[in-house]
């Protein structure tokens, strides 16, 4: 009995020792990993080089990365502006080497397969768990997280309800002959996709040659109705606000801005469905500041930054905890629906395998007439 008790005590002691050793080991491993991360972070030096859209750097977007600047005052971000993804692509090939940039979801596959970017390590982004799972998945390619979702919104139709009577809840409104000279299109090859949606093509992002030709001819025929093909929201707001335009291919924030101007406006979700887009941060292959890039994206992904973006820029943010102050925006973005950017609510923008062909045909539409 005594031996048994001793054996039992010993085994307990041993167990405790093993547990203690294991715990210490685990702690050491964890501490070791954390230390390694800190060491790696400390080893990264210089300013973080960010390639981003206008308005997201030190020209108004400081609140999005304020916590990063506070934490890493010696590695403040240094911005270069990108006009669009193809501009970013041209800059990379011309020798620009940023640490990270932010293309939109339709380009994830393109960049993931281009050899220009590397996957993120979500474990290094503490706010990653708050990001919309559907959007997170949209940032993956072959199981790897190439894009960290950030801002999002829709392409749909904005119109003046006191001037316009739509025949149907349809994309057809931006082609309506009754409103010649009062319509605005968006300067993007997505116009061919939208034409494809309206014309009922089964795969508007992968149109056949004959479908593309039909979509292009349709746009050329309807271009006579178009007053402005906008590429800057400011131009759209100015023209729409002054009454030059009554109908526009627009984003949710444009509706909010026009409401602020006391215009009677409706943001219509067409029956063919709006097209949704999500901004995706990507880290460049060979970036010498990979961990700092993670820290920067972590700051962008915080609930505080997300709410600021929604309140000030009128876009949605992938952080599901963020809610804008404006109930109008909440409604326009359908923020309570975590699958607002996908079926059955919308078509999520996607890779266009023949992007160059689409782009050429869209340029021809603009050149026509």
């Amino acid at each position: 009995m005594g031996n048994h008790e001793e054996t039992e005590r010993l085994s307990r002691q041993r167990l405790l020792k093993i547990a203690a050793a294991g715990g210490a080991g685990l702690l050491t491993t964890r501490l070791g990993t954390a230390q390694a991360a800190l060491d790696a972070l400390a080893a990264e030096s210089g300013r973080l080089k960010v390639l981003d859209w206008p308005g997201y750097g030190n020209d108004g977007g400081q609140s999005m990365f304020a916590s990063y600047v506070k934490k890493y005052p010696h590695n403040k971000p240094q911005f270069t502006v990108m006009a669009n993804e193809s501009d970013a692509l041209a800059k990379f090939h011309a020798g620009l080497k940023p640490d990270l940039f932010r293309p939109y979801v339709g380009w994830v596959k393109y960049f993931a397969t281009s050899g220009l970017v590397q996957p993120w390590d979500p474990k290094l982004i503490s706010n990653f768990k708050h990001l919309n799972p559907f959007m997170v998945k949209a940032g993956q390619y072959k199981g790897k997280q190439y894009g960290i979702p950030a801002d999002w919104g829709f392409d749909a139709i904005l119109y003046r309800s006191d001037k316009v009577t739509p025949k149907a809840r349809s994309w057809g409104l931006i082609f309506d002959d009754r409103y010649k000279g009062k319509i605005a299109w968006f300067d993007d090859l997505n116009m061919l996709t939208v034409a494809g949606l309206y014309l009922g093509f089964p795969r508007p992002w992968r149109q056949s040659d004959s479908e593309l030709r039909k979509a292009q001819q349709f746009l050329i025929k309807k271009k006579k109705n178009v007053r402005l093909i906008w590429s800057s929201e400011t131009d759209l707001w100015q023209a729409f606000g002054s009454g030059e335009l009554w109908i526009a291919y627009a984003w949710p924030n444009d509706w909010v801005q026009m409401k602020k101007k006391k215009l009677k406006v409706v943001y219509m979700r067409p029956r063919e469905k709006p097209v949704a887009w999500v901004g995706m941060f990507m880290v460049l292959k060979g970036s010498p500041r990979r961990r700092l890039a993670h820290a920067y994206v972590d700051a962008w992904s915080s609930t505080r930054s997300a709410k600021w973006l929604e309140d000030n820029y009128g876009y949605g943010h992938a952080n599901v905890l963020a809610r804008p102050s404006s109930s109008d925006l909440l409604k326009a973005l359908q923020l309570t629906n975590t699958r607002a950017v996908t079926e059955p609510a919308a078509h999520l923008d996607r890779d266009i395998p023949r992007r160059a062909q689409y782009a050429r045909m869209w340029e021809e539409v603009k050149a026509s007439g």
Binding site: D187, I229, S368
Partner: protein, 303 residues
């Protein structure tokens, strides 16, 4: 001694000749190098892009005339070019017609304040080009100066403003005309001012009326200035892209906008963009040659 003297006497001209022969290339060297590096080399690079023998983008590249073939067989680009030519011709002709009387008054009226007036003419250049173009948006918009005036006078109701003032071809031509007017007035002014006034007196002595003297003496003598002024407007407006992108809307889109967009938006298509740019350069160069020959023959005829 005599030989030595003769030698020293002969030396200076030889040295002068050597100095002269060295001076010419060294003086021309810098501008030629500048032209070579910043004009000819970029054109060569753009030409290489157009034939796909050089590209910033990875992938398979090799000599091809596909972009040239597509351009020459695409009615879209050539029609756009023709549209831009028409717009530029209208702007140039109207602006020259408007600037001529202005330059004539400044050069020949004998006013003592002509240089002050000339300064006033070019005063808009003291503000930025972009600001001057943007100001027209305020003037031409639905709620702009012109429409507001029409509402105020009751000539139009606020529900029916003149909408085609902004975001139209008219807007582009109007703003381009405004921007280039001083450029046009200057060369005409210079050619009129350098004219020998005794020729007008002689014409008068020989019984020519003032109008006849103008058509037979003043106008032919000022033609080089007029042609130069015309080219001053026509060449830059043909490739213009800032003004149409600000006030042109969908219908005021010009050839220059297409070049910019092919390089910058959608998906890079530098091959086609380069073809369009080289075609424009070729047309402008050819026009310059034709006009300069015309100028020379015109001067010879007058002389």
């Amino acid at each position: 001694m005599a030989v030595a003297e003769a030698g020293t006497a002969a030396a200076p001209p030889r040295r002068r000749r050597r100095r002269l022969s060295l001076a010419t290339p060294s003086l021309l060297g810098v501008p030629l190098a500048w032209l070579g590096v910043f004009f000819l080399a970029p054109i060569a690079i753009v030409a290489a892009y157009s034939f796909d023998v050089y590209s910033l983008y990875p992938g398979t590249h090799g000599f091809t005339t596909a972009a040239w073939h597509d351009f020459l067989h695409s009615p879209v680009y050539l029609r756009l070019f023709w549209k831009s030519v028409q717009m530029s011709l209208i702007v140039s002709a109207v602006v020259v017609a408007l600037a001529y009387p202005l330059a004539y008054y400044l050069a020949l009226s004998g006013t003592k304040r002509k240089y002050v007036l000339l300064l006033l003419l070019i005063a808009p250049f003291l503000t930025s080009y972009l600001l001057r173009v943007l100001a027209w948006k305020v003037i031409l918009g639905n709620q702009g100066v012109i429409n507001s005036f029409l509402f105020w006078t009751g000539m139009r109701s606020p529900d029916h403003p003149i909408s085609q003032l902004l975001y139209s071809r008219f807007a582009v031509m109007l703003v381009l005309g405004y921007v280039w007017l001083p450029f046009v007035a200057l060369p005409i002014f210079v050619s009129l001012e350098s004219m020998d006034r005794r020729l007008l007196e002689a014409a008068s002595d020989l019984g020519a009326s003032r109008l006849w003297a103008f058509f037979r003496v003043t106008l032919p003598l000022s033609l080089p200035g007029v042609v130069a002024a015309f080219l001053f407007v026509f060449i830059p407006t043909l490739g213009e892209f800032v003004t149409p992108s600000l006030v042109g809307g969908a219908s005021g889109y010009m050839y220059g906008n297409q070049i910019v967009d092919l390089f910058g938006t959608g998906f890079p298509d530098w091959e086609t963009g380069s073809v369009l740019a080289l075609f424009l350069l070729g047309v402008v160069a050819a026009l310059t040659v034709v006009f300069s020959r015309f100028l020379r023959s015109g001067q010879a005829a007058v002389g």
